[in-house]
Symmetry: D2
């Protein structure tokens, strides 16, 4: 932390500042410039509240020199983290992972068709909601445990791993029994008790970005999981909220290179939730791969018009196959390989 | 739900639409205009997914005629809801409620000083965090149960009710034992399992608006609580996220008249979190009262520069007293009475 | 400008930095701390591009210590600026100014009725559009010169000053002939050639905040006018763009105390454009006065349902009278006086 | 326009509505459903103000069935518009256009180096600012006419077309003498007098999206140009303003498929302004091509660290060459060809 004093700060004000800093057990490097005095604070930045110092008399500005997250930062961990999901899928290395499946598991037949198409297209991971967070209490809330079991069986038939959302601490054990990757939904990105519990769950975590979360806040949420001892966190950009109404959210693809720069954690893009309309999904999925995403998550459905949840943003199984072919070539362009080797 | 067909929609497409609607157990009123056909759907709108219909061939636009929330709407419940908090405080009637206290409970002495100043200023409710949601896992997380007990004791000494945040389902019973009003923080506004549980908690709920929640989503979250049988929900505007960085959030005071128009639930403003800087709190608190808020929540601290959490936005006890005097007159101007009668 | 070097910056990198700074004719105060070196740049900050320095090897962060605007800052000009509009109205002192009138001038009768009601309610300034910026080329674009003349005549009959928008450099002289206060619309806040020309216009300027302008950018635009020699700039908050759709914009009332803190220029609030719906205008106008605005601008219309432009947000003449009575008392509460003395 | 009446609308209210509609010279198709009456308005929608009707007693909701722009819509003009820029470059067909050059023209040597590198990388159009809109009146404002001439000479030596910004109506003729494509900057997207004048300029127009413009508003601004008789408008996405601060703006790549769906006009992406930091430009340029952009605009500089304007976001000439190679393959993947044939 660096404290820049006001030009007109008195020696008494600076003295009070120094006492406050030392009182928190920290050391000071003082530099008196021509126009202002600068105090460099030496020691653990968490011992002093930045906001409080900011408001003290004589203070012009406080600059944090270190990022508020540590374990999630690339400074701390220069090499890319590669997360193993299920037995064979590695996320974050040279492969671009593909997660595909329906928004919600609706029945044996539907999830079977999706798993088959996902595997045929080259996906390694089957997605699907069993417990659904819905903004209306009157909307379809998912099949629950039955859905989990159906998804596991379908995934196993096609050699796929499983990712699904876990909404409460009580459900972690149940979901972890059937899924290989535990998803935290956008609405729970700052549900700290849930993050803390997932830090001890023993399975990799798929952390969606909150609807209006800054990249820094997102990495802070990852830090909650990492600091409990779970190193396997995969981030997922799924669109942020802006004033634009032509798309459901604004998929922030620039988050991909930014995260790659600031952190070592893998980052996936979810264009289906990002745009919310089927016809815009494929271009954005291609764009995500071109931007360097470590994977894409795509909603597919054997019959999107009849889907019980988020049908309008699901690709048909044919559209998905075509998209995979194009993404595969784009991945090659930037020296990567997309999906399962066939 | 009203479905407006495309000008060039074929009779086959319209027929398929009609089959889908009837298949969901709904009825149709068809009107063939000069340029387009309109289908009015009659029956429970939750039986048909708007998104799915939107994507069907021949559909130009789908209009929802009823709001997605019902119990929270003023249409359903024309009279203002008045919520009793503790034994004597009524929120939502002609009185403007005042909730004051520190961001976090830090110790007996601090909460005692706050309670005394709160009561002296005319507040009816003592606020304070015992379990704190913090964006960093390394930040101060609150005194927990000890903090709850301290707050209850201090409140009782001055005849105040208590409001405090509950972050997980497991803590509801504990918190409800000491608090009169259970707060849902902005980050948990869409934590549906928590909302559902609070709908059965038997105590009034104080629902903060999510950082990027639309007013409609906010009312949908209230609907989760109401639909479980708890009619006592108080809404709290605490600032939304925008591009502006001069204030921590943008306090959306226009939400006050909008909520009054759409809903019967009381609405409170929290200028402290809204602006995040002490010097901007008082003007915004006055503005909230002038805009017709049913109450204000203000952070106060006997020594803001030493506060362990959010000190920079806390008023000193003297500033709070002065603010109350001004707000009292403003309330009178619009025919209301602020705070406790003295 | 303060340059904080990276912990691992080499002496060669720091040397290159020092050469660049000195090459721009600036001086350096160097301070070598335990963890990082800090370079304080002494001299005119406009001689060095912050962005360029930020990207140089070895640089961690660049902090600007002075604000990018000067003439608009309260540091430079500690006392409140009071702007004379027309012969008798002073904006920015202890009086709270009231500007009222229709969105667009539509005819003699309409503007006459508005002027009469404005004066009766205590307004000092008549507003009205003669040249209208419309987002559609097919919308009503205003009466032009005829409208200006009508507005001037009506204003004169009731002893009011006139404010109206000027959209192009070519029109400045014409508009200045009839108006006392030249309005820059939100869409033109960063039309720098127009601002520069208004800096030489010899009349006070009413600068609306751009739809997505930060407060800093807004003050920079004021700086364009001030730096050309025109000291008479009045700022106007009229709502910013956010994700919320229940109101047309989000009226950012916290901009009022923030501007009061950062600048000496008067600030007015325009709730009519801020919310866009008649029933929400009065509460927000009251709130603006309570928040400390130096004035309010309100749209009124003798028959809002028949207005040719923005009718839905205009108050009826009766509603306006009632609002003025309430605002007058609120102004008194905070030690000010609203509108014309009667 | 379709007017949905309230369930409790009286026959008198509906009668008054019908009179208002007929009074505006429009026809009505009335449909009385079980729950509400619907009035379909037949005729030119610009004759009736939507807002006014919305506020009339008995009205629940007004739905616009036609888009507010016409000439810019794909409905009106189903085939893609291909704009010829200079003698040989076609924008909007199967080729993906490349525009490259410095932020600002700084001198003969710099623009010569950029033009050479642009041509070598396969660009068809040289970009560069001669008249610069700067948020500070104290910042470098460009070389003006001298800069235009330098750019033209450099472009001619390498067979490139020229695009540059025009900020005022008075400068259109001058700029049009040297440039092949006239750029409207983001800050001027709603400068309607400028748009109208460009509609008669006889040269193609490059219309940047405003910082907080919705896609609909952007197309409305294009409509201003088209409706004056100039069919050659190219749109440019350059980032929108959001709460995220890690990038300068949020490049909204989903605008590409959305524009392709709603309009026939070509759309280009400008990742340099979108992200504002050199290291994030290349991934976003690749992503734009993958998303189906009709071209990309990239800032390059022979020595970005010494640039006078926006240096931090300019690619070096080597980085640009590498980027072109990758984008060329990505374009092929989706059946297109990037840049000049070599």
């Amino acid at each position: 932390m660096i404290i820049i004093c006001e030009a007109k700060a008195t020696e008494a004000q600076i003295g009070e500042l120094e006492r406050t800093i030392r009182g928190a057990g920290l050391d000071i490097h003082r530099s008196d410039g021509e126009e202002y005095t600068i105090l460099g604070v030496i020691g653990d930045r968490n011992r002093l509240d930045m906001g409080t110092v900011t408001l003290m008399p004589g203070v012009r500005e406080v600059v944090l020199v270190t990022s508020p997250y540590k374990l999630a930062s690339r400074e701390f961990h220069p090499d890319d983290t590669v997360v193993r999901v299920g037995e064979t899928c590695l996320v974050g290395g040279m492969e671009v992972a593909v997660m595909a499946g329906p928004c919600a598991v609706e029945g044996e037949e539907q999830i079977e068709a999706c798993a088959r198409a996902a595997a045929a297209g080259g996906a390694q991971i089957l997605r699907g909601g069993a417990y659904k967070p819905r903004s209306s209490p009157y909307s379809y809330q998912g099949l629950g445990l039955e859905g989990l079991k159906m998804m596991r069986r379908a995934a196993d038939r096609y050699g796929l791993a499983v990712v699904t959302e876990v909404m409460t601490i009580e459900l972690i054990d149940t979901v972890a029994q059937y899924a290989d990757l535990l998803q935290v939904g956008a609405r729970n990105m700052q549900n700290y008790p849930l993050l803390t519990a997932l830090g001890k769950a023993g399975k990799p975590v798929f952390l969606k970005r909150g609807m209006s979360a800054t990249i820094q806040e997102w990495l802070m949420s990852a830090e909650y999981i990492l600091s409990e001892g779970n190193p396997d966190v995969i981030l997922c950009e799924r669109g942020i909220r802006t004033f634009e109404t032509a798309t459901r959210n604004t998929l922030d693809l620039s988050a991909i290179p930014v995260i790659k720069h600031l952190s070592h954690l893998p980052i996936i893009a979810d264009p289906s939730h990002g745009v919310g309309t089927r016809r815009f999904v494929a271009p954005m999925a291609r764009a995500a791969v071109a931007a360097g995403a470590d994977g894409i998550m795509v909603e597919i459905h054997p019959n999107p018009d009849k889907a019980m949840s988020d049908g309008p943003q699901s690709l048909t199984l044919e559209e998905f196959g075509l998209l995979m072919n194009r993404c595969r070539i784009i991945a090659t362009t930037i020296g990567r390989r997309l999906g399962k080797t066939r």
